[in-house]
């Protein structure tokens, strides 16, 4: 049997079955005796993790059931050499430890770890993960606290003015944008990385004026030069330094080209210009340095107030969690780690390693190193593909994967070069493009280096299923002879044409339409165009679903909510009034505002939202619209109800939400629309981990290079940047070396990103791949992905419209003919009417539907006046009551001896005594003894003749049927009444059979004589329930049971009938 490699790195190209590899490795480990708990497997998404968990179990279960499957599995898991027995044992081991498996995303592992280390990390107890909804809230409060500091005002204004977005109006949004671009870079680096560079020398005002004068006094001999000079002086006068140095003669002089429009620039001009050029560069450079400084300081303040705000709210992003873990370095103490996580991490299986960020790596590194250095049998299994590193923008660093073999000596690298997913034509397209990518002329030299490097990582792709039919083409979109349609519109038309064609031939095929980014709402446009395509409408949706607002019926309901919240929102009001819902609510469109019905409707909706929550209200509204909508809309309405029901789980009780906030949530949340889940539109990023029968890639006509906001420079890609700063065009390349290197690095990275993106997009296709590029009259698209494609296939010329430019070998345009239509799964039948019968009689023993009540809850007809009950003064009264009851409980018969005040005070239960305080307690005791001395009580408590028993604080419980009356109180449901009778005296006949009984209830209220009658009425239901209970307990007829109230403070006994 072959032992597995302890340190193995798998380079897995797209679709080469890495999930399987992970699974096999997992099974091998467990089969060779490793405790599953000590295996940490991380992957890219929760969905992928779930899939691995499922497949592990499934494969071993299949092996138990089917000998063929077992033999196949044994090839990959040689440890299963004990065959059937071994499989069964492995299955048992796995099924019994499903709840212990550590298979999840890297984020979830970090969260779990951070939870166990919350104390050491200084995290707020009970913290949770910051979601989108709260993030906006916390961020805007951060912005408001940042901006409200007057010190910041000017700096902000300056920065906003400098930043590329110019003096755009929304401050919060701009800050948010800056935060996306520069925040992490500032947080993760030393200040020195941002504060590099020495200021440049510039002229003072007088010298500058002189220099400009000198230039102005030049008189060029050539007309062109003269015009340019005037322009240059104008630019200088306007302080437009950038324009000055990047155009005209100044530009040429700067790049040591001393001629302009064919004539040499006269030396007088050259020497007049030179100081000015230097000045201009100086100003621009200083501005850049200043901007870096300002950005740094702003992001620094933002970091402080933002992390404080998050900390106070007890909410942290995944990023924060990772950052904290890397910062506090809890991972370095492995003993501690093992203690807190309840198991050691002996084996690591890491998937999608190319997307690991430096921060994540710094958390993982100690464990990896430790495993690497361990003597024992601990292992690492790392899977990745640098070609699929799409997460550079989130800090993913593919260099970590590249350098891994070096870091882990003794490690073995295995390449999986067979694709189980893509058909041969698709792979031919992939191979064709990426094996020649370095030949394409990219933007410039260092970009070409990036391409070559990329190509070095590329290995020839082979299909594991050569027989799989497929089709791979590059084709052009149409043109609009009138020139009115944009490139985007035309390429959408093409996409629709292709998709409609495939969909009509292979209606069960999954089709993915991939775009680079959702610029110009192109995803929504494509979805819309497909849905409304005539005559072949294609049910399509955005991947992950669209927000529910894509349903007109849903929006009517949302309008009703908005209208209730903001009665002045006439758009919403009109929207509701013009719909079925408006008719149902009884509101008609009237522009005059004072409308009583409208007023009531709004108020009622607000009240119901508050009391019942959104789901209830939305559900009612939806019912009114059901008859007017089609099947899809009905589903959307139902999804809205479910959304309303579940959203409160994430955001706290939804009924505290303003409708406008609720609507925002709906707008933000994608809800999959199952009717259209076969055809989906998405960005390439989102397509990661997915595959489709056919893929249409459009949106290739975008520049590879895009001006960023911020840049970084890494001396070592696996270390934090040594230099970082804002982007300011290419003007300063020549003058600031650091700046130039940053630009180069960025350029390389962007080329790399673009190629990865293209690679991922292409390799999503199982059968067919269509790459749509615009038809162009010229060849000015070199710097775009479509230009790149054309260069590689050697078609770099103007492209006719509606043409297939290139076809992969072995393509079959009618691939779908053999496309096996999967059998429709049997759909569960529609549920008919379900009627659940009510019980015939209330079950006597299930206790289901039985209410409970205490006798005292019956008093006052079961009603309570809020102001009386909760004014805070009744507590002392309660204490008094309990103590007096306690004292009475100690007395069976009063044989004339009244206890002393002191003895009473000592005997009182501590809890209640504390409530009264020393003074109150004494008062209670005094009042109690006074009552005992009264003739009324003396008589009441004197032992009568005959066979009699007294029961103090007698507990009872009795079932009372629905509809039973206790005085004026009627029970609404079957109720178990249970409580205590203060004092019960039972009189027996000579045979010991109970004859009659007296019920006494002690009352400690202060009462006036005038109030006695009303008090009698108040307490009557309570006493009636005692009578009922006593009659059931002792079998005494009700008529033989007397009930009395004793007002202790008044020493008054009142019989209640």
């Amino acid at each position: 049997m072959k032992r597995f490699e302890r340190f193995e790195i798998i380079e897995a190209l797209a679709g080469s079955g890495k999930t399987q590899e992970l699974m096999f490795r997992f099974l091998r480990l467990v089969k060779s005796g490793v405790d599953p708990r000590t295996i940490l497997a991380t992957t890219f998404s929760r969905k992928a993790a779930g899939e691995i968990r499922d497949r592990i179990l499934e494969s071993i279960a299949q092996a138990v059931l089917d000998p063929d499957a077992m033999h196949q599995l044994m090839q990959h898991v040689p440890e299963l050499d004990d065959g059937q027995v071994g499989c069964e044992a492995l299955l048992r081991e796995l099924t019994s430890s499903m709840h212990r498996l550590n298979i999840g995303t890297i984020d979830s592992f970090f969260v779990k770890t951070a939870q166990s280390f919350s104390d050491a990390l200084g995290m707020t107890p009970g913290w949770s993960i910051l979601d989108g909804v709260h993030e906006d809230e916390v961020f805007s409060s951060t912005v408001s606290s940042l901006t409200s500091d007057p010190k910041n005002t000017e700096q902000f204004a300056k920065l906003l003015r400098w930043s590329k977005s110019g003096a755009k109006v929304p401050v919060g949004k701009t800050l948010r944008e800056m935060q996306r671009q520069a925040y992490n870079s500032v947080r993760d680096t030393e200040p020195s990385a941002w504060l590099w560079g020495k200021p440049f020398n510039t002229m003072n005002g007088i010298d500058l004026a002189k220099a400009i004068n000198t230039l102005a006094s030049c008189s060029p001999s050539f007309a062109r030069h003269a015009t340019d000079l005037i322009k240059a002086i104008d630019k200088l006068a306007r302080c437009d330094w950038k324009a000055f140095v990047t155009s005209g003669m100044a530009k040429n002089i700067r790049s040591d080209k001393h001629d302009y429009y064919g004539n040499d620039i006269e030396s007088e001009i050259v020497s007049a210009m030179q100081p000015l050029i230097q000045h201009a560069i100086g100003v621009l450079a200083n501005r850049l340095l200043e901007k870096n400084k300002a950005t740094h300081s702003l992001m620094h303040s933002l970091n402080e107030s933002w992390s404080t705000a998050k900390h106070e709210a007890g909410l942290y992003s995944f990023d924060d969690v990772t950052f904290r873990l890397s910062f506090i370095e809890v991972m370095k103490n492995l003993v501690e780690l093992q203690y807190r996580l309840d198991s050691s991490i002996d084996h690591m299986l890491i998937d999608e390693f190319q997307d690991t960020s430096l921060t994540q790596w710094s958390v993982l590194k100690p464990i990896v190193d430790e495993i690497h250095q361990a003597e024992s049998d601990r292992s690492l299994f790392i899977v990745g593909d640098v070609k699929q590193s799409l997460y550079g923008f989130r800090g993913g660093e593919p260099a970590l994967l590249r350098n891994l073999p070096e870091r882990l000596d003794e490690s073995v690298t295995r390449k999986l070069d067979k694709s189980w997913r893509c058909s041969s034509p698709v792979l031919h397209a992939v191979n064709t493009i990426f094996e020649k990518v370095h030949e394409a002329k990219l933007l410039n030299d260092y970009a070409c280096d990036a391409a070559s490097e990329w190509q070095n990582d590329f290995i020839h792709h082979v299909s594991a299923k050569p027989g799989q039919v497929g089709n791979a083409v590059i084709q052009t979109a149409g043109v609009d002879p009138r020139g009115l349609k944009t490139e985007l519109a035309l390429s959408i038309e093409k996409v629709v044409e292709i998709v409609a064609d495939i969909h009509s031939h292979a209606p069960t095929a999954e089709i993915g339409i991939l775009v680079r980014g959702n610029t110009k709402q192109q995803i929504q446009r494509i979805v819309h165009a497909l849905r409304t395509n005539e005559p072949h409408a294609v049910p399509a949706s955005e991947f992950g679903g669209n927000p529910l607002t894509d349903s007109p019926a849903v929006t009517v309901i949302l309008s009703a909510l908005l209208m209730a919240d903001d009665p002045g929102n006439t758009v919403a009001r009109f929207h509701v009034c013009s719909s079925e819902l408006g008719r149902h609510l009884g509101i008609l469109w009237k522009s005059d505002k004072a409308d009583e019905t409208f007023e009531t409707v709004c108020r009622t909706i607000r009240r119901r939202l508050n009391a019942k929550g959104y789901a209830e209200v939305v559900s009612d509204f939806a019912e009114e619209l059901i008859d007017s909508v089609d099947d899809r809309e009905r589903l959307r309405l139902w999804q809205l109800i479910e959304f309303a029901e579940s959203c409160s789980k994430d955001i706290g009780p939804s009924n505290g939400l303003r409708p406008s906030e609720f609507v925002k949530l709906v707008k933000k949340t994608q809800v999959p629309d199952p009717a259209s889940s076969l055809v989906q539109v998405m960005t390439v990023h989102k397509s990661k981990g997915l595959s489709f029968d056919a893929v249409v890639v459009c949106d290739l006509n975008q520049p590879i290079w895009k001006a960023p906001k911020a840049m970084q420079l890494h001396d070592d890609p696996c270390q934090p940047p040594t230099c970082a700063g804002m982007y300011a065009g290419d003007t300063l390349d020549k003058d600031i070396p650091e700046y130039k290197r940053m630009r180069e690095e960025l350029h390389t990275q962007q080329v790399n990103d673009a190629l990865c993106l293209l690679y991922v997009a292409m390799t999503r296709a199982k059968h067919a791949l269509h790459m749509v590029i615009p038809a162009r009259k010229s060849t000015n698209h070199l710097k775009k992905l479509d230009g790149l494609l054309l260069q590689i296939i050697g078609e770099l010329q103007a492209q006719d419209p509606d043409k297939i430019v290139w076809t992969a070998n072995g393509s079959d345009p009618e691939w779908y003919k053999t496309f096996a239509i999967p059998v429709e799964e049997e759909k569960p039948s529609q549920i008919g009417e379900v009627i659940i019968r009510p019980p015939k009689e209330v079950a006597c023993c299930h206790g289901h539907g039985i209410a409970s009540a205490s006798p005292s809850s019956l008093e006052g007809g079961g009603k309570i006046a809020i102001s009386e009950r909760f004014d805070g003064k009744t507590n002392v009264g309660f204490g008094w009551g309990t103590i007096v009851h306690y004292w009475f409980e100690q007395i069976d018969w009063l044989e004339g001896v009244v206890p002393t005040i002191e003895s009473l005070m000592v005997s009182a239960p501590a809890q209640d005594a504390a409530l009264l305080g020393e003074k109150g307690l004494r008062e209670a005791a005094v009042s109690f003894t006074k009552a005992l001395r009264s003739s009324a009580l003396q008589k009441l408590l004197a032992k009568p003749e005959g066979n009699v028993s007294v029961f103090n604080e007698q507990a009872f419980a009795v079932r009372v049927e629905k509809g039973t009356q206790f005085a004026e109180f009627t029970l609404k449901e079957h109720t178990d009444v249970q409580g205590f009778i203060d004092r019960l005296v039972v009189f027996y006949d000579n045979e010991g059979k109970p004859q009659r009984a007296e019920v006494i209830d002690w009352k400690t209220d202060s009462v006036d004589s005038s109030e006695i009658e009303s008090k009698k009425k108040h307490y009557a239901p309570q006493l009636a329930s005692y009578r009922f209970a006593v009659s059931k307990l002792f079998g005494i007829p009700m008529g033989k049971i007397s009930t009395s109230l004793v007002f202790v403070k008044k020493s008054k006994i009142v019989a209640v009938a």
Binding site: H99, A167, I641, Q830, I866, Q911
Partner: protein, 949 residues
């Protein structure tokens, strides 16, 4: 010491009725006094209630009442034995006192439990949160019968600890000691040490009246309960353990009747395959429930069916489906207290006082209970929106609404409202965000609540009353905070105290009134003891037993194991027994269905519970495993019956203008024309129906308002004849800049938010640009003749007149040539040419500037000027954010454009006048229409050409 008597009551019948029978036969013999000698210990509150119901029900069948025995949960068993002379502090008091004790401690002392970050001294919210965590650690320890002093622990337990854990427990112990000292000042004792005192080896326990203890189905007694039972045995109390299993299983239980963990972890649980169903999303799981109900509806009545869910998040979704099929249901767990209107109100108050933000004010007054008090009307809300939209207030304070210079519709309503609100808040002294002691904060909250709810009289079964009771009882406890604690706690504020109150309520629920016609839905713990014949369990995922308790930094499973606390394995063993018993009980008669969910509410994949994979036979197990991990990628959500009408409808129609009566349009403003050209339908919505979205503004100016501000600043400059002719850039800049400040004052009052202040600075940048170009214009000989000329002109179309009106921002004349230049200020958007005319297809898209020509004759100051086409130029004065977007930008179009403009104007005006608004909106939508997206059903996809601007 007498032995514990174990009694195996079997598991093929409902357990609790069997228990009741056993109790009645053995201890509750009808003697009144016998009950008081018996203490029945059960696993949970719900079981206690059920058992009592059964006892009462049985008696009732014989027309009797009972004297109920004490039925307590095992975790409460000790508490009734605690010396009555000890005054035990309640949990809220303890939490408050703990916070005060923690805060007193230095960072070094606290380091092991707070790490790098000690809460700030005044951050009481954080201290309370920390206190909660610490208190829960104490109670975990005492639940295991373990002290916080680790030196008293068994050796192997101490050995488990790491250095940092050791320090943690040292700190916890110090905290507990300090806490006890603190509480003793008020004569209070701490529950946990008092419990442990009872269990002290050298001490005898005083059992009081109790002679018999009966353990009912207590399969996982806590360490504390075991010790208590043993202590009671020492003093001669008899112990019976009633086990839910047949005699044959006696080796699977220990002497106390608890499950033997190792046995149950390996136990086989036979569940018939047909009882297990797999469903995907929560919605599908709910539909599967309905299917099951459909299947069994003939067999059972509503009271005989219970739906259990292992994930409580599923319950509302299941209930929603049930109600969609008109099936009544009730969640035994009740409604969360924090969802009750009174709690929502308190949180609104918290937010208002803490932030004083305008938006918190707006939501506070909208709370129905407040709105009712204030007699809030729609027009007040509208006025509030108007106000917010115009003034962008970030905060409210007592002098709000005092903005000079601008007129607000219905401002008097707002002033009244404001007075009312502040009077109310003043009355209960709550608006000053002042720190005071906890007692006065509590008093203030009480006053506030009484002001809102004091007038009401409520039924005792009313959920509202129950929620108020819960809230007030917490306030009562706050009220009872002793001086010592309050002093040490220091100053707090109302938001903090409300926060604390709400966090105490977090887990509280308000029970729903029982109804026999409802199907009960319950959580997992209750499912285990349900005795209804039909039980449907939903969920059953591996998360049920879970791994580590998340966030439990003090008790990893290894330590739990060593201390004898509840562990994952123990939970799993307990559940294994429960699943077996649940299944056994319904094997003969009854139905038990397991619906295994594959996805949670977030759509994430779930792993099935190991409990369903305990089959004896390997093949059966393999088949089961395969079935349970079946992949459910795509699923059709099912809509309940009630939401499926007989036939499909035709959809929501887009309202047609022809369905609405309106008079012919008599007036139109020049700026509205472009809306008509872009889309007549949306023009109808915007300018005929005059529909507006009035949302509260944010904390900064939107582009419109920003534009108005800049506009107003340059307008003020244009009015000031003393400087407006200046040719000096600096002079102009200075003047406009001060005009800007004046405009800010005038428009937004004295106090503006920080964001607006920044925006004002950004406006100043634009003004710099303006000054440059204005100076140039003056140097070129242009003089401002007049500004803000508001005029109308009548145009004859279709035989009637339509009035065209507009405000001309500014008219310049050239001092030498007498030429006229009509300028419109623009702070954004395209050039005059681009805005008016689409070159590609030669169409006018706006007529604003050409229409100004109609108004020129109305300007008196121009009377003496030549207003012929040749002498008048039209254009924008752009005040953009970049150099390229600033300056004077004249309308210069090809001749053919000018030729057609007159006819085009007539055509447009004629269409408007005749009400030709089309019946459907233009598609794709022009950009201005986003507000109308829902009415127009355009999915917010706007015309690509306009998308970029």
């Amino acid at each position: 010491m007498n032995a514990i008597q174990r009694h195996f009551l079997g598991w093929d019948k409902p357990f609790l009725p069997a228990v009741a029978k056993w109790l009645q036969e053995h201890y509750l013999d009808g003697e009144l006094a016998s009950s008081s000698k018996v203490l029945v210990l059960v696993s949970g509150q719900e079981v206690a209630r059920k058992l009592q119901n059964i006892l009462v029900g049985n008696a009732s069948a014989n027309d009797n009442a009972i004297v109920p025995p004490a039925i307590k949960t095992t975790s409460q068993c000790l508490d009734r034995l605690i010396d009555a002379s000890l005054q035990i502090a309640d949990s809220i008091t303890v939490q408050i006192a703990t916070a005060s004790v923690l805060r007193e401690m230095a960072h070094e002392e606290l380091y092991p439990i707070v790490g790098v970050r000690r809460p700030h001294d005044t951050d009481m919210v954080a201290w309370f949160a920390l206190a909660k965590q610490v208190c829960s650690a104490f109670s975990t320890l005492s639940g295991g019968g373990v002290s916080s002093d680790k030196t008293t622990w068994p050796e192997h337990a101490e050995a488990v600890l790491t250095d940092s854990a050791r320090q943690q427990f040292d700190t916890l112990h110090v905290v507990q000691q300090n806490l006890q000292t603190q509480l003793l000042k008020d004569g209070l004792s701490l529950l946990e040490p008092s419990r442990l005192l009872l269990l002290d080896d050298d001490k005898q326990i005083d059992a009081g009246e109790i002679e018999h203890v009966i353990l009912v189905g207590a399969t996982d007694l806590s360490g504390m309960a075991v010790q208590t039972v043993n202590k009671l045995r020492e003093v001669g109390v008899s112990i019976d353990a009633l086990v839910r299993a047949p005699e044959t299983e006696q080796n699977s239980f220990d002497a106390h009747g608890c499950v033997k963990v190792s046995h149950w972890l390996d136990a086989t649980i036979e569940i018939p395959d047909e009882n297990i169903h797999v469903a995907g999303s929560p919605s599908s799981q709910s539909a599967a429930v309905i299917r099951q109900l459909d299947r069994i509806s003939d067999k059972y009545t509503s009271d005989q069916i219970v739906i259990g869910s292992t994930d409580e998040k599923l319950i509302p979704i299941i209930q929603r489906h049930l109600s969609g099929h008109s099936i009544k249901s009730r969640f035994a767990g009740g409604k969360a207290a924090v969802e009750m209107p009174v709690v929502i109100l308190l949180q609104a108050l918290e937010k208002l006082i803490a932030t004083k933000s305008f938006s918190s004010y707006a939501s506070f007054i909208r709370h129905p209970d407040i709105a009712k008090m204030l007699k809030l009307k729609n027009n007040t809300l509208q006025a509030l929106d108007d106000y917010s939209k115009q003034f962008v207030p970030e905060f409210v304070d007592e002098i709000a609404w005092q903005v000079p210079g601008r007129k607000i519709h219905n401002i008097e309503l707002l002033i009244t409202l404001h007075k009312q609100v502040f009077e109310m808040l003043h009355e209960c002294n709550s608006i000053q965000h002042k720190r005071s002691d906890i007692l006065s904060c509590a008093a203030t909250i009480r006053t506030f609540l009484l002001a809102v709810y004091g007038g009401e009289t409520l039924d005792k079964t009313d959920q509202k009353l129950v929620s108020l009771q819960k809230v007030f009882s917490i306030i009562d406890t706050f009220d009872a905070t002793s001086e010592h604690v309050s002093e040490q706690l220091g100053l707090v504020d109302i938001p903090t105290i409300i926060h604390l109150l709400v966090s105490i309520l977090e887990k509280a629920t308000i029970p729903e009134y029982p109804n026999p016609e409802s199907i009960e839905t319950v959580g997992w713990l209750e499912s285990m003891v349900v005795d209804a014949p039909c039980l449907i369990v939903v969920g059953m995922t591996a998360d049920l037993v879970g791994g580590n308790n998340p966030g439990d930094v003090f008790f990893p499973d290894g330590l739990r194991e060593a201390l004898g606390l509840e562990t994952v394995d123990r939970r799993l063993a307990r559940d294994a027994h429960a699943v077996t018993a649940m299944q056994q009980m319904r094997n003969e008669s009854g139905d038990l269905v397991w619906i295994v969910g594959r996805k949670n509410t977030e759509g994430d994949p779930l792993t099935p519970s190991p409990l369903l994979m305990c089959c004896e036979d390997a093949k059966v197990l393999a088949k089961r495993a395969k079935r349970l991990v079946v992949s459910i990628e795509r699923e059709d959500p099912e809509v309940p019956k009630q939401f499926i009408p007989e036939q499909e409808g035709s959809g929501i129609p887009v309202p047609a203008p022809s369905d609405y009566m309106h008079d012919p349009v008599e007036k139109v403003s020049v700026t509205a024309i472009k809306d008509f050209i872009a889309c007549p339908y949306r023009f109808w919505l915007k300018h005929v129906l005059k529909l507006r979205v009035k949302e509260e503004g944010g904390s900064e100016l939107d582009p419109m308002l920003f534009g108005s501000l800049v506009h107003r600043a340059v307008e003020l400059f244009g009015i000031d004849t003393s400087v407006r002719d200046s040719e000096e850039e600096q002079v102009i800049y200075k003047n406009v800049s001060s005009c800007l400040d004046e405009a800010v004052q005038e428009m937004f009052g004295e106090t503006v938010s920080g964001a607006i202040r920044i925006q004002v600075e950004l406006a100043r940048v634009r003004i710099e640009e303006f000054a440059k170009h204005q100076a140039k214009s003056a140097q070129d000989g242009w003089r401002i003749l007049c500004t803000e000329e508001k005029h109308k002109a009548k145009v004859e179309v279709n035989g009637t007149k339509i009035e065209v009106s507009g405000i001309i921002d500014r008219v310049d004349v050239h001092q030498d040539s007498g030429k006229i230049r009509v300028l419109d200020y623009k702070t954004g958007g395209p050039t005059a040419n681009g805005a008016h005319y689409k070159k590609q297809d030669g169409m006018w898209i706006d007529l604003q500037l050409p229409l100004y020509r109609l108004l020129l004759p109305k300007i008196r100051k121009l009377d003496s000027y030549d207003k012929s086409d040749a002498n008048v130029s039209l254009g924008y004065f752009r005040i953009g954010d970049q150099e390229s977007k600033a300056g004077i930008d004249l309308l210069e179009l090809p001749d053919q454009a000018h030729e057609g403009v007159g006819a085009f104007i007539d055509a447009v005006l004629s269409d408007i006048q005749r009400g030709q608004f089309g019946e459907v909106p233009t598609n794709p939508a022009p950009k201005y229409s986003d507000d109308f997206a829902w009415i127009c059903q355009d999915n917010s996809i706007i015309d690509e050409f306009e998308g970029d601007n």
